[in-house]
C-alpha cells in the first residue's frame, strides 16, 4: 500500500503528440482515484506512465514516497488489469493467477494457498482448472482481477476493465471492484471514459481533456462545483444546460438574461462569489443542471420562471426528461464532448412523472436559481470566487 504522486507528468510520443501535459496529482494511501475523459484525452497514457509501460517524458513519479520515474515496471510493485483482460490463453485459471507468484518464487504451498484465497474472494473456485477460452467475459474479467490481487501489490492500475462487458454485468462488476478495493485497501487508479462509472466508483475523480488535468475532486464536488465549462458539460447526464448570457446587477437582484427572457438571482449571490460583480453588464456563460429545472405547475414555490416550447419528452417512468426551446442555443465549449441527447434546443429539464407537459405545447418551467453556474466566456473557467 502506498501513496502515488504525479508531479508535472508529461508524455510526448515520438512524432510529437503531447498525450499528457504536466499532470500533477497526489493520491493518498488506499484511495480509489478514477481518471475520466473523452477518448484520446490521455487517460491510458497517464496510467501507463505510472505502470512503467510508457516512458515518462518529463516530470516525476513517486510511489510510496520513492521516486519511480525511471524504475523498471517489475520493481514498481504495481499490478494492472487490462481492457481486454490479457489472460494467458494457454494456461488454466489457476496458473494464470499463480503466474506472478511463480515468477516471484513464492513457495509452492503458500502459492496454492494464495491462489485459493483469491479465487474465493472472486468466486472463481470452480473454474480454476479451466482455460480462459472456456470462460464468459465476466469470469475472464475476474481472473484478470485475481491475477492482480493475488500479488498484494501496493498499487492497482485498471484501464477500462469493464468496457467489454454488457451493461448489466458492468454495473455488477463496478460494485464488485469497489467492494474488493475497499476490503483490500489498496491504492487504485482506474481509467474509464464513462462518467457514470467514474462518479459511482471513485473516491476522487480526475477529469482530463486533451492531456490536461481539468479538475480532480470528490464526485459530489465535481457535480456541484465544476471548475470549468468542460467539466460542467462532461459530468452529469443529461448534461448541464449551458448557454451564453449576460448579467445585470440591479438594486434588488442580479438579472440573468436567458435569450429574450430573464431570471433574477438574489443579491447574496455576490457575497458568495464577489468576482461575479466584475461581469456586470458583460457576456458570460450560464449553466443550470436539468435537475434544477422543474415543471412550474408542480413547483409553485419556485418563482423564477421561463417560458418554453416542449420539443420532446422522454418518459422514463420515474421521471420525464423534457427537451425545451426557451430561446437559447446550447453553448458549445471548444472541444467539449458532444452529448448524445442533443436536439439543438439546448435546454433540458427533469420533471417528476406527474408532469402534464405535452410535446409541442408551450409551458412554464421553474428554475432553482441558487444552483446556477457562471463561466467566463473567454477562458471557460468557473466564476467561483
Amino acid at each position: 500500500m502506498a501513496t502515488v504522486e504525479l508531479e508535472e507528468l508529461t508524455k510526448i510520443y515520438p512524432g510529437g503528440v503531447k498525450a499528457v501535459d504536466a499532470m500533477s496529482l497526489s493520491i493518498d494511501d488506499g484511495e480509489f482515484v478514477v481518471f475520466v475523459g473523452p477518448s484520446g484525452c490521455g487517460k491510458s497514457t497517464a496510467l501507463r506512465m505510472v505502470a512503467g509501460l510508457e516512458e515518462i517524458s518529463e516530470g516525476v513519479l513517486r510511489i510510496g514516497g520513492n521516486e519511480m520515474t525511471k524504475v523498471h515496471p517489475r520493481q514498481r510493485d504495481i499490478a494492472m488489469v487490462f481492457q481486454n483482460y490479457a489472460l494467458y490463453p494457454h494456461l488454466t485459471v489457476r496458473k494464470n493467477i499463480a503466474y506472478p507468484l511463480k515468477l516471484a518464487k513464492v513457495p509452492k504451498v503458500e502459492m496454492q494457498e494464495r491462489v485459493q484465497r483469491t479465487a474465493e474472494v472472486l468466486q472463481l473456485s470452480e473454474y480454476l482448472d479451466r482455460k480462459p477460452g472456456a470462460l464468459s467475459g465476466g469470469q475472464r474479467q475476474r481472473v484478470a482481477m485475481g491475477r492482480a490481487i493475488v500479488r498484494e501489490p501496493s498499487v492497482f492500475l485498471m484501464d477500462e476493465p469493464l468496457s467489454n462487458l454488457d451493461a448489466k454485468l458492468r454495473v455488477y462488476m463496478r460494485s464488485e471492484i469497489s467492494r474488493i478495493q475497499r476490503e483490500l485497501g489498496v491504492t487504485t487508479i482506474y481509467v474509464t471514459h464513462d462518467q457514470v462509472e467514474a462518479m459511482t466508483m471513485g473516491d476522487r475523480v480526475a477529469v482530463l481533456k486533451g492531456g490536461v488535468l481539468q479538475q480532480a475532486d470528490k464526485p459530489s464536488v465535481l457535480y456541484s462545483e465544476p471548475a470549468n465549462l468542460f467539466v460542467a458539460g462532461f459530468i452529469g447526464s443529461p448534461a448541464m444546460n449551458l448557454f451564453e448570457s449576460s448579467i445585470q446587477v440591479e438594486e434588488q437582484s442580479i438579472r440573468v438574461r436567458v435569450g429574450q427572457q430573464s431570471v433574477d438571482l438574489p443579491l447574496e449571490y455576490l457575497d458568495q462569489f464577489p468576482a461575479l460583480r466584475s461581469y456586470d453588464g458583460e457576456r458570460l456563460v450560464c449553466g443550470i443542471r436539468p435537475d434544477d429545472v422543474y415543471d412550474a405547475a408542480l413547483n409553485p414555490g419556485l418563482v423564477q420562471r421561463l417560458q418554453g416550447d416542449v420539443a420532446l419528452l422522454e418518459k422514463l417512468g420515474s421521471e420525464i426528461v423534457a427537451h425545451l426551446d426557451v430561446g437559447v442555443r446550447r453553448f458549445e465549449s471548444a472541444g467539449a464532448d458532444e452529448t448524445e441527447d442533443e436536439l439543438g434546443t439546448g435546454f433540458i429539464g427533469r420533471f417528476r412523472p406527474q408532469s402534464e407537459a405535452r410535446a409541442g405545447d408551450r409551458m412554464e418551467v421553474a428554475l432553482d436559481v441558487s444552483a446556477m453556474h457562471f463561466f467566463d466566456l473567454a477562458t471557460g473557467e468557473a466564476i467561483r470566487s
Binding site: P73, R74, A79, F82, Y85, A86, Y88, P89, L103, G133
Partner: protein, 314 residues
C-alpha cells in the same frame, strides 16, 4: 401479428427440407466427385511406385500396361534394406547386385539432419521473428526488410560460397557441414512467424512484464505456447523441406555413411554401368524413404489442421 409471423415461419420450414436436400444432394455429389478425382490423381504416383517396387525388374517392360505388380516379389524392398540373399537378388534383378547402399545408415543421417535443421531453424527463426516484431532497437525495420530481401536470392547463388566455407572449416562429409547452411534461419520462417507475433495482443506481453517476466521468459513462457499452431506448421514444413534437400548434401557428403536418403537413392540408380536402370529397386527405395514423412504427416497433419482453429483470446 405473431400468427402471421408464425405461419410464415411454418411455411418456410415446410418448404425447407426437400429443397435443402435437393440442393445438398447435387452440391455434395459434385464435391465428392471432384475430391475423388483429385485424390486419384495425387495418389496414383504412389500406387505406381508401389506397383513397380513389387514387380520383378526383368518383367517390368513386358507388362507395362498392367496396373498390378508384374511378377510379384518383395525382394526389392529386402534388397534396399540389405536383407536379401544373393539368390533372391539374382531372381528379382536378373543379374548380380551392383548398386547398393546402406538404407538404415542413410535413414539415420536423414533423421539426424532433418531433426537438427528443424529444431535449429524454428528456434532461431522464432527468436529473430520476435525481435523483429516486438523488441525496440535502432534500425529494426530497415534490418528486417534487408533480411527479407534474402527471400529473393536463389539458393543456387549461395551454393558455391557455402561449399568453400564448409570445406575450409573442414566440415565436408560431416553432420555440421550438411546442417550448417540451414541451421539458423530462413527469411521465410522469420517473416511467417513475425506476422503471427505481430497479431498477438500487446497487452498479454505487458501483463507478463508487469507480472515480473523478462524478455526471455515472456518469449518462451507466453509467446511460444500461444504460437503453438504456427510453430507446429512451420516445423512440419521445415522438416519436409530438410528431408527432401538434395543438392547441398550431394555436394558436401560424398562419403556414403554421411549421405541422407535423397542422395543415397540417387547413387543407387547411378551405379548401374551399362545395364538398364533398376526401376523396381529404385521405387522400393523411394517409397521407403518417403515413408517417415508420410507417417509424420499422418500423425501431425491432423493436429496442424485442428490447431488452426486454436483460439487465443485477443
Amino acid at each position: 401479428m405473431t400468427n402471421i409471423a408464425d405461419r410464415i415461419e411454418n411455411l418456410g420450414s415446410a418448404l425447407e427440407p426437400s429443397a435443402r436436400l435437393r440442393r445438398l444432394g447435387i452440391g455434395r455429389g459434385a464435391a465428392w466427385l471432384i475430391l475423388i478425382a483429385i485424390l486419384v490423381v495425387s495418389l496414383f504416383p504412389f500406387w505406381w511406385a508401389l506397383r513397380t517396387g513389387l514387380s520383378t525388374n526383368g518383367n517390368l517392360f513386358a507388362g507395362d500396361q498392367s496396373l498390378l505388380p508384374v511378377g510379384y516379389t518383395d525382394n526389392n524392398f529386402e534388397r534396399v534394406l540389405g536383407t536379401a540373399s544373393e539368390a533372391e537378388i539374382l531372381e528379382s534383378l536378373g543379374r548380380e547386385n551392383t548398386g547398393s547402399f546402406d538404407f538404415l545408415q542413410s535413414l539415420k543421417v536423414s533423421v539426424i539432419v532433418a531433426t537438427a535443421i528443424t529444431v535449429g531453424q524454428v528456434l532461431f527463426s522464432a527468436m529473430a521473428a520476435y525481435a523483429f516484431a516486438r523488441l525496440k532497437f535502432w534500425g529494426r525495420d530497415k534490418l528486417f526488410f534487408l533480411f527479407l530481401s534474402g527471400l529473393m536470392i536463389p539458393p543456387i547463388f549461395t551454393l558455391i560460397p557455402n561449399l568453400v566455407l564448409v570445406k575450409n572449416l573442414g566440415w565436408l562429409n560431416s553432420y555440421p557441414g550438411i546442417i550448417a547452411p540451414f541451421f539458423f534461419m530462413t527469411p521465410f520462417a522469420v517473416f511467417f512467424l513475425r506476422q503471427f507475433f505481430l497479431g498477438i495482443s500487446r497487452e498479454v506481453e505487458e501483463a507478463a512484464l508487469l507480472d515480473g517476466a523478462g524478455n526471455f521468459r515472456t518469449f518462451f513462457g507466453i509467446i511460444v505456447p500461444m504460437s503453438a499452431a504456427p510453430i507446429a506448421t512451420l516445423s512440419i514444413l521445415t522438416y519436409i523441406t530438410a528431408w527432401n534437400e538434395f543438392l547441398w548434401p550431394l555436394v558436401v557428403a560424398r562419403a556414403p555413411e554421411r549421405q541422407p536418403l535423397t542422395v543415397a537413392l540417387g547413387q543407387f540408380t547411378a551405379q548401374q554401368p551399362g545395364t538398364s536402370p533398376d526401376w523396381s529397386g529404385l521405387m522400393a527405395g523411394t517409397l521407403l524413404a518417403a515413408l517417415p514423412i508420410i507417417v509424420i504427416f499422418l500423425i501431425f497433419g491432423r493436429k496442424v489442421v485442428d490447431s488452426i482453429g486454436f483460439s487465443g483470446i485477443k
